[in-house]
Amino acid sequence: MKKELIRPYGDTLNDGKIQFSFSLPIGPGEIGKEAARIILKQLGLEDIEICGMRDLKGGFTQFIAYASTSAGVDPAEIKVKTVDTPVMDMEATDEFIASHLGREITVVGACIESDAHTVGIDAIMNMKGYNHRYGLERYQYINAINLGAQVASEDLLRRARDEKADAILVSQVVTQKNIHIKNLTKLIELAEAEGLRSQMLFICGGPRISHELAIELGYDAGFGTGSYSTDVASYIAITLAGQRAKA
């Protein structure tokens, strides 16, 4: 089979054009420009054009550049882990839960540890919802408990155990120095230690979360930018129904 590689495209197929900008701790001038060019050369780039040079003062300069790469990828070979359950609207999900599980589902959500960005988890859980999709609280067959911001992992797990939750929803928005990885790992390790991990679905979300990352961290699913309550609710309902069928 012939590989059909795709490459960056500026204005001609496979021209490989990429735009760059970066700063170097060096003053503006020919030496700095050449340093920028060398950095891009080290990345294996060709046709390097340093078109912008901005003095950032204090001994820094920003370079803006265009260059060509020969890098290419065969899209047919790309595998990404994605949440593959179909997405149903609220009514359909409620019906699905009623008919396949025959009981209310309980989910407990929180923005854990130092993170106070609740807008994301609220968008998923709160009555009001987001972008014309009501949140989980509004679902007839979902008992949604939103603990809010800066909830210690321990507290979230305790509450989930108390409520016999079917799923835990965790949000992480701050990612500086990978603090989200640390926090999410802490939660899952605590859950393992407490024997809770297998009792419920662990779902995380946030602008830098992908399903792939979530799986890697030991979660059941992950939801990134642009997720809706409907995505999560459908996923939970269908997954739980699947587990029940298997059991």
Binding site: Y9, G10, D11, T12, Q19, C51, I64
Partner: protein, 519 residues
């Protein structure tokens, strides 16, 4: 409502001077023709194609006529005569001439009636085709609704018509209303129009009839899927202005770059040649319902946008009068201006606002064409993107007709696909944000903006009156326009201008004049 208060007498004086200037070329328009006008007639008669060396048949035919001294009666006569004589089609006649199999000077003049009949039929047919294209365009707008204002106008310029198509379609799907295919470097200096689909241009793609056709078809597809008529434009100006106008009319271009003086000033094409060619080219545009676009922006790429603001206004008024002479209605006059004030000038936004309002106030019914910052665009793409936002702001605030979107990479390369998309996003964001802002605001009493607009108008008026006094050719020879001296008999292409003889025939011109109600 944001509105200028212009001195009505000054406006009147300026228009009068411009009208005087444009009106003084009757002799030229009446008594002369040019190689490219003849070639455009040849094209209208249905002759197309090129020989093995890529020389277009229209050139071969007209050059043949010139060599044989047959031109002063017009190519129309010679070809019709050959058709009558040989029973061939116009295309067959041309091919035989190109092959050297037919020498038109050897043919006897057929009966005047026979020739007239052929010409009548052939010109009716050509004009009908053009009319159909016009009507189709009109029906599309009637069906899908009129163009947004300002219309979103973007360029494609890959040099390869097939890449152009990809980029144009993407842009149209993203919201572009008008696609301009930029021409290869200096095509205006070619005294022929290349033939066929082309894939190698520099800084743009050759304007050829086949390229027009390919792009038009692609955009018609998008128009149908998007339920929005996507307009196409290209450049007519240059040594082949009438021919390209004809090609555009046939292939349903919707707008065409056509400036009465651009070729003279910015391409050193002979003044007589240029004025003559634009007269006929614009009449073709008028007949085809094509919106013309003028090139006032060019003044500001070389001169200071504040100091020389009046040259833009003066040129607009001249372009307007020349357009009227060719039968173009104000609704189809895309008079140009440009956002080229140095961004470091204090209050440059207010200054630019004054200039943009002046243009709109002078030409309230025209789809004024507003060009983006180019001169002060730099390799700092972020900054250029901002300048384009300010430009879009003024475009919407002053209700320009056509907004030629600026590209954040203006100083670097002809637009990449993403550059154009970011430009459209920029325009859509800004247009929507300040949608009705102009109705919210008014100018403060004694505002600098109003004063400035009147000052520019006065400077333009003074300039036009001086040019009217001197005569346009004298003024150009003296360097009054854009500080460039263009003597009446200098520049390229003068040898392609000739005096028509008594028997000269151009059935297209006569019919178009009648239909356009021109004298």
């Amino acid at each position: 409502m944001l509105k200028l208060n212009l001195h009505p007498q000054t406006v009147e004086r300026a228009r009068k001077a411009a009208k005087g200037i444009a009106g003084s070329f009757d002799w030229l328009f009446r008594d002369y023709s040019s190689l490219t006008i003849e070639r455009s007639i040849v094209r209208l008669m249905g002759i197309d194609g090129a020989d093995a060396d890529g020389r277009p048949l229209p050139n071969l035919v007209v050059d043949h006529l010139a060599a044989k001294n047959l031109l002063s009666r017009g190519a129309a006569f010679a070809i019709a005569n050959a058709m009558v004589n040989t029973g061939s089609t116009a295309q067959e006649v041309a091919e035989q001439v190109a092959d050297g199999k037919l020498d038109l000077s050897t043919l006897q003049p057929a009966s005047e009636d026979a020739v007239a009949a052929v010409l009548d039929q052939i010109s009716d047919q050509a004009l009908a085709q053009i009319r159909e294209q016009r009507e189709f365009r009109e029906s599309q707008f009637a069906l899908y609704g009129p163009r947004r204002q300002p219309a979103i106008y973007v360029i494609v310029a890959t040099g390869n018509i097939y890449e152009d198509v990809k980029q144009a379609k993407a842009a149209a799907l993203e919201g572009a209303d008008i696609i301009a295919v930029i021409r290869s470097t200096a095509q205006s200096l070619l005294d022929y129009v290349p033939f066929g689909a082309t894939t190698v241009g520099f800084g743009g793609t050759y304007a050829t009839q086949e390229n027009f056709r390919i792009m038009r078809a692609a955009l018609d597809e998008v128009s149908a899927s998007e339920k929005r008529y996507i307009s196409l434009t290209n450049y007519a100006s240059g040594l082949c202005m009438p021919e390209i106008a004809v090609m555009g009319a046939i292939e349903r271009l919707d707008l065409m770059l056509n400036d009465a003086m651009y070729g003279i000033l910015f391409r050193d094409i002979n003044p007589k040649r240029t004025l003559l060619d634009q007269y006929f080219a614009r009449m073709v545009n008028a007949y085809a319902g094509i919106e013309i676009q003028t090139g006032e922006d060019n003044y500001l790429t070389t001169s200071d946008a504040i100091e020389k603001a009046y040259t833009v206004t003066a040129s607009q008024l001249l372009n307007e009068q020349f357009a009227l002479v060719s039968g173009i209605k104000p609704e189809k006059m895309g008079l140009g201006h440009a956002f080229e004030i140095n961004p470091e000038v204090e209050n440059n936004f207010s200054l630019e606002l004054a200039h943009a309002m002046l243009t709109k106030a002078l030409f309230p019914n025209s789809p004024v064409k507003y060009m983006p910052p180019t001169k002060f665009a730099s390799g700092n793409i972020f900054q250029t993107h901002l300048m384009n936002a300010m430009f879009n702001f003024i475009g919407q605030l002053t209700g320009q007709g056509v907004q030629l979107l600026g590209m954040l990479t203006e100083a670097i390369h002809t637009p990449h696909i993403a550059d154009r998309s970011l430009a459209i996003e920029n325009a859509q964001y800004v247009f929507n944000s300040v949608k009705d802002l102009s109705t919210e605001l008014c100018l403060a009493e004694g505002s600098f903006i109003n004063t400035r607009a009147n000052t520019v108008l006065e400077e333009a008026t003074f300039f036009l009156e001086k040019v009217e006094d001197e005569g346009l050719f004298t003024a150009m020879a003296k360097g009054d326009f854009a500080d460039i001296r263009r003597p009446e008999n200098g520049g390229k292409g003068l040898d392609g201008v000739f005096r028509k003889d008594e028997a000269y025939l151009n059935p297209f011109l006569s019919k178009m004049k009648t239909e356009l109600e021109l004298s």
